[in-house]
Symmetry: C2
Subunit: 251 residues, 2 copies
């Protein structure tokens, strides 16, 4: 597991009860990938303090950055800020900067208790500005707390990504005519020799496919990927490699 | 958290690296819901023994049944069976019944070591037959190990669901004209009084929507849902409830 990886926590009763399909996790996976930041897990948990705290504890052992989605509104089921504070052993405080922003945005002088909850944050939290948006991203100890509404999640995510280092991965593929069990021995040997390079094996089940297995080889170094690719070509059963590009069906 | 709930573990480097969008988690959420089994979390983790063991440990504290997706093929990245065995403190053994099935299905007398890996299971595992499929579902201590290929996942899932009790939930909704922060106080009070009933609050952000917040009320007892619904109607700010059906836009 890379040290500089990210983990996602989707706070979502509505996802677990199949009311909506989560769009934020898949978007995060694509955008982190484009940026070269490995995503080491996505935990979808209920709007429940204990469940979020547990997921945060797990994520903090694995990832440098954690991105949460949802649970930061003003109602009883919005418990992400409280859970982050608990997981970090910090108090919940009200950020004067956020209070001022809410007053300005809503054009009111007095805020209701519910509205004031939007200004709450774990003690020591900082704000990451979002170009083109009223509200900044709440961040504390590498945990970025994003809203669950996909439109705002996407907007805030770009501001978060801009703060992370950029190191794109190289990905190359091999398309094979052999079944997975016929290549397993050679593949295992090469994978064991090159544990630092991510090698994936994906069988195709459609009977009319032009290949039976797709191998993926990934690393931040293009040289390492090329080395493993050559090694695989040498070790895999003779004649089993069709191409490095996805074979097209005739006709 | 209901005791008789389920948890999903998606073993999926290909999901975390955005090569594919996971279809198995969303399908599982829909099918469990139709069957009335609460889904308490979905953990998407890499094809990595430690990560799967950690997720299993977390899931076992929360759920009675665990459904895993992926990582049960014959290659180096297929480590789900080993991880389940480790999480349960059991040895990995070869199931003679599975060996025989593989021999019959592939019509061979001698199996390669890679093929034999498909017959491995945590000690004490049982097999759940799948109507219309060659291979059964591997099950051990309430953990069902399903394949990641969506077609086979869907087929095996139905066989798993048929073994679980059936207790459909009642869901009713309220569509409101008020903003979430305007209803938060009333909503919090009703939710606190009725902690056994799941109440969700979902703001709409589209400026041209016919309502501002959708409330969902859910429980296995229709009576409990009706009671909470009436209580909410009484406690919410006057005039804020538009309807129980989704309002349609004029024109």
């Amino acid at each position: 597991m890379a040290t500089d990886s990210a983990c996602a926590i989707i706070v979502g009763n509505e996802v677990l009860t199949a009311k909506i399909a989560d769009a934020n996790g898949p978007l995060l996976a694509r955008r982190l990938r484009a940026r070269g930041v490995p995503l080491c897990a996505v935990h979808t948990v209920p709007d429940d303090v204990d469940a979020i705290v547990e997921a945060l504890a797990l994520a903090r052992r694995r990832a440098r950055w954690i991105i949460t989605s949802g649970g930061i509104g003003p109602t009883h089921d919005d418990v992400t800020v409280r859970a982050v504070a608990l997981a970090l052993g910090r108090r919940v405080v009200r950020l004067p900067e956020m209070e001022a922003l809410i007053r300005d945005t809503w054009q009111v002088t007095e805020l209701t208790p519910a509205a004031l909850r939007l200004a709450e944050a774990p003690e020591g939290a900082t704000l990451v500005g979002v170009p083109g948006a009223h509200f900044p991203v709440l961040c504390c100890d590498g945990i970025f707390m994003l809203p669950g509404v996909p439109k705002y999640f996407a907007l805030q995510l770009e501001a978060v990504l801009a703060t992370l280092p950029l190191e794109p991965l190289t990905l190359r593929c091999l398309f094979l005519s052999a079944h997975e069990h016929e290549i397993a021995q050679a593949l295992d040997a090469v994978a064991l020799e090159n544990a630092h390079v991510a090698i994936g094996s994906y069988p195709v089940v459609e009977p009319d496919a032009c290949y039976r297995v797709k191998l993926t080889i990934e690393h931040v170094s293009a040289d390492e990927v090329a080395k493993v690719l050559e090694r695989l070509k040498k070790e895999l059963p003779e004649g089993s490699v069709i191409s490095e590009e996805e074979p097209k069906r005739a006709g």
